[in-house]
Symmetry: C2
Subunit: 346 residues, 2 copies
């Protein structure tokens, strides 16, 4: 049993202060999530655009001078035959991809996991050339007193995954790009397994197969290797295009349950359960045959990029599970379940 | 000054014994190269196809049972509208990419670096699902008494880079995938710099920019991180599409010279010189403005995939440089120069 919370969405873009004048918030979604003291903290992806000039398509980006980052706007004439809109998320100019919004990571805090207060200022925002087009989809893993936050960075170098670390959700130390392009959906396990840190990740696959979930090992969380493909899309309507990992894995006596997403027919995104072996997490114990969650409610089937449920944040409190997810690349929602129910969904 | 050897090519496909009955060798090219005792050893990429049945397109692949690997053939009806030929190198079926040949790594040995004897049997060949479509383009780096060999593996998981190690070019120990898909053109430096092993690599970039040369660090040659883009294609006729690193870097008092390749207009491949800073090899000291080598000779402008010169093997002996390169994805050639000349080409 899993139930979508009755007053979803729990955070909407209009509750979020823009990061600067002239920007508007189009999305507050895909939150990382973590239990921190008596709080649950969400690491929201906040997507912003700037109001385009009449007759132009505007792409918000950053430029960097020394240690400082500055917002910037690329403008393309709407009538230029070299300009096309990929979907609501992307702009193509002269064969190169750009994003229609720029994202950063913003904190939201709650005592009950349901009612959140969104902070006024960004928590992690672009400061490096590898982050020129934005920072997306944070995931948090607590290991030995520190919170490791990984997120997608986007630039001319394409999309990759960077790492940062914090102890207090105030100061953040950047650790650089840990998975080179093109890679996202990185989920770091909360403890070492057989002497190595473990992560799931999702490299691109531009033709030989479909984007799939991979497994990697690390001695130090910074350098990763022993890459293996462990799970591929299936020939069903929910996973026909690609799959990718979700939040950091939870540990249970039966194994590591993972909530992953599938992109299926008509670009509909759903969530699935997977159980990985405790001591050999590159091995699959069980894989659900039908989705745990699909877009059914108006807030999931309408919006910026409709028919998307996407989870990269999960919190367990006293056996109860808060599964946070982004709906339609626009809002934050939550579904409630518990560990036993989750393990019985297979 | 660099001069193409007068009797190029020095190895042709017809000098290479097929790895099994029914196969024919279409290419012996893109060799890794290393000074080993009184020999120069080349690690050839040998590309083979099977004769297609009348009316079919044949794709040679491997399948695996336990520890054993077996050759296999996928056959697609030539008249099937779902089948198309990408170029001489690729077949597309139902939107998925396949290779028209399967490659393995074969040794060739020489005393003078010019006259080679090709071994009868493969040295490294597919034994793992990640190598199902073949093994390509080896590079060798000597570090502390061992020879580290990296090579491109191709499968449904797309293309990635794996590592193996040998001390004697007889026994080889596999070390798994060190750069996840999609990544090739990996060149490992011959010593640690500021306490870390260093490699150049070339991740794919499917839209945001053009495939470029990246830098990474490792504590152990197996796990890699701190990925940074250090060199992008330029807007000239030789590098307009993409670039990628060549053989392992050489150490000189002025820095690390690198011979990289550019894919330019009309898919012509050329070779360029680059000089990286000794203590900070992510920094560019000099980049040549014109190519070191371009396809000009008939053996470079005709063949399996014409207008390609591609180098992943270099040997330095007493200041003299043997720059080995593949021509037209078909033969092995060599160009001769010396360290001083190379540094003066900038």
């Amino acid at each position: 049993m899993i139930s979508k919370y009755k007053t979803n969405p729990i955070i909407k873009p209009n509750e979020v202060t823009p990061s600067m004048e002239g920007y508007r918030v189009l999305g507050a979604f895909n939150p990382g999530a973590v239990d921190y003291g008596d709080e649950i903290i969400l690491l929201l992806r906040v997507a912003e655009s700037c109001k385009p000039r009449e007759g132009y398509v505007s792409v918000p980006i950053y430029h960097f001078e020394g240690e400082e980052s500055y917002p910037d706007i690329l403008e393309f004439k709407s009538t230029d035959p070299e300009v096309s809109l990929k979907d609501t998320r992307g702009v193509v100019y002269k064969g190169q991809d750009y994003l229609s919004t720029t994202s950063h990571i913003r904190l939201a805090r709650s005592k009950d996991g349901l009612n959140f207060t969104v902070e006024e200022k960004p928590f992690i925002y672009p400061i490096d050339e590898s982050e020129k087009y934005g920072i997306e989809d944070a995931r948090v893993t607590y290991i030995d007193g520190k919170y490791y936050i990984n997120y997608t960075v986007v630039s001319e170098g394409s999309w990759a995954t960077a790492l940062a670390v914090t102890e207090d959700f105030v100061r953040v130390e950047r650790k650089g790009v840990i998975f080179h392009p093109e890679n996202k959906d990185v989920a770091i396990f909360p403890e070492k397994v057989r002497g190595k840190y473990i992560a799931l990740h999702r490299p691109n696959n531009s033709g030989f197969g479909k984007p799939s979930i991979w497994y990697s090992e690390s001695p130090d969380l910074l350098h990763w290797g022993n890459h293996k493909c462990i799970l591929r899309p299936r020939d069903n309507k929910w996973e026909s295009q690609k799959i990718g990992g979700g939040a950091r894995p939870m540990k249970t006596p039966e194994g590591w349950p993972i909530i992953y997403h599938g992109k299926g027919d008509n670009s509909v995104y759903s969530l699935f359960c997977l159980l990985l072996a405790l001591e050999e997490p590159h091995k699959i114990i069980r894989r659900a045959s039908t989705p745990l969650l699909t877009p059914t409610e108006p807030y999931e089937t309408e919006g910026f990029f409709p028919y998307v449920v996407f989870s990269n944040g999960i919190v367990e409190r006293d056996g109860k599970i808060f599964l946070y997810y982004g709906a339609s690349d626009e809002t934050v929602c939550v579904a409630l379940t518990d560990v036993d129910s989750l393990l019985r969904t297979f």
